[in-house]
Amino acid sequence: MADILAALGMVAEPFSLACLVFGVWVGIMFGAMPGLSVNMGLALLLPLAFAFKGIAGILMLLGIYCGAIYGGSISAILLKTPGTPASVATTLDGYPLATKLHQPGRALGISTMASTFGGIFSTVCLVIMAPLLAKVALQFSKPEYFALAVFGLSIITSVSSGNVIKGVMGGLVGLFLATIGIDAMSGVIRFTFGTNYLLGGVSFIPILIGVFALAQVLQSIEDNWKYIHQTTKMAIDRTLPRLSDIRRVFVTLLRSSVIGTFIGCIPGTGGDIASFVAYDQAKRWSRHKDNFGQGEPEGVAAPEAGNNAVSGGAFIPVLTLGIPGDGATAIMMGALMVQGIQPGPMLFLEKAPYVYAIFLGLFFANVAMCLMGYSLIRLFAKVTQVPTVILLPLILVMTFVGTYSYNNSMSDVFVMVGSGILGYFLNKLEFSMSSLIIGIILGAMAEQNFVGSLIMSDGSLSIFWTRPLCLFFLVAAVVMLLAPLFSFGKKKKKAA
């Protein structure tokens, strides 16, 4: 109880709340603008988060995370251009409801209500599930942690949207980058090429900003050249949902939130999968099946509740096991680690107030999202009209400013520019940037626990298959790694 009160004290500070609200606001803007992503928003504001002492910076990032998932629905409904991949399913009924049926306010209102419901539902699940799972995870020793890191790395196959083999290659490079600097086990200096800059290891933030923000801006410059962005102005009427709409979509909200939370718990999945599964199930169980695709309110509520419910679910493996489920949670985990908060079961014992502050932060972020959604929706709708010629220079400058201000170092800026340019080409070659980042984040955990396990067993590798939990995670990792190859074989057979 004392921990909860301490957490409430941290979150309820005016500055912390202001950071949270600011984060939600920025997140919605990033989500609403097509071409900007959740990852980009998190990466860009990460250095700013470090400037704030205590929990305020983390709360700001939580706000961005929640806000951006919701923000994607605004452009999905008004422009038929989803701001984030998680909002693709929302266009199916959101856009017809706004244009064909001339009810953009109703569509946005239902989307706001569903997003808030999904987000709060998953936060409640996180509060209930995370401490239970953490208790189990407390029994883990070094071999289990190593197996867990390998399992976490195996999600590379899921986050590698282009090519799984290249995803694994990116992950291996990320793992190698994590070995640069002073080895924590032996104290030996590795791969620094005699420079002091690399002594403390590869700086994670510049690489993150480079591959997620700068590379994306370069891609947007290319896209901007190819397509002329067309905007349509729509008058937004009443946004508060009617009681009849609430009754109509309530069961769908509940079902989709359960689906979203469950999918969020599984590493390697994400809002895009959750929204499509929720949409599919809503259509299957609906009494208005024939209206789907033509502006059905349930078709708007289902994907939005589903993708926002992922936020709480995705934090369950991050906080309890220290495994990021996707790029966004990898960035969040990196932010926690840089702030000295090491996610994992020990976090619940050593820094319990921080855990509860994260729970409360997620809850308040969803409340702030709801309030902003209903009060400022017309402003956010205007954001979707901002021309890219203004937006792209602003983001490019922010990548420089953010990277520099993190350490006041121009070397970091050079690393960021190098990673961004390399990231642009690697994206074209279907490499997954998330796999590289997950490799860097889990690298130290994997190596230290691997070495620690071998010390425990006097050098015998049998320690990894004689312990049931360790074996379970290793088998699960192998299954995750090989699954795409089987599905590839199946697809080939079908095509033949």
Binding site: M185, S186, P393, V401, S405
Partner: protein
């Protein structure tokens, strides 16, 4: 335009060399198992070896599916790539200009240049964005967060 097949062969070759270099670099450190566990070179050596193996696998995979990969094109030299390469050049120039001119003067040159590259010809938009962005950075990061931005070499 290059086919994905050619790109995959190139990627395999580059990562094969990179993996080899990682493994070779790891040989500088002890690899053997002692009472303190495996040497500090063991883990990076394994990673280098794994990267070599995966690179070879990508090469074989590409060879096996060469017809399908040949049909897929990767845009590296289209008209739309040109502004990206120019923007990259601007970024490199900006890095150099920050050291010479200082942070804010360099931005004052970079933003209009980038907007011009993005086909913006409206002087009001260019001027407004440049002034707005620089003011925002100066107030938020310079004044509020007290970030010390690099100054011009002429002022030091």
């Amino acid at each position: 335009m290059f086919s994905m097949l050619v790109c995959n062969y190139f990627v395999s070759a580059v990562f094969l060399v990179l993996g080899g270099a990682m493994a070779y670099g790891a040989l500088e450190f002890p690899l053997a198992m002692t009472e303190h566990g495996p040497g500090p070179g063991f883990w990076p050596f394994c990673l280098g070896g794994a990267l070599v193996a995966v690179s070879l696998f990508l090469f074989c995979f590409s060879l096996w599916h060469r017809e399908a990969l040949k049909a897929r094109q990767v845009a590296f030299a289209t008209e739309a790539n040109v502004p990206v390469y120019k923007a990259m050049g601007l970024l490199v120039l900006l890095c150099a200009a920050i050291g010479v001119l200082g942070f804010f003067p360099a931005l004052a040159v970079f933003i209009p240049a980038l907007m011009y590259l993005l086909r913006c010809r409206n002087p009001r938009w260019i001027g407004g964005t440049t002034v707005g962005v620089i003011l925002f950075v100066y107030v938020v990061f310079g004044l509020v967060l007290n970030t010390q931005f690099p100054q011009s070499v002429f002022l030091e």
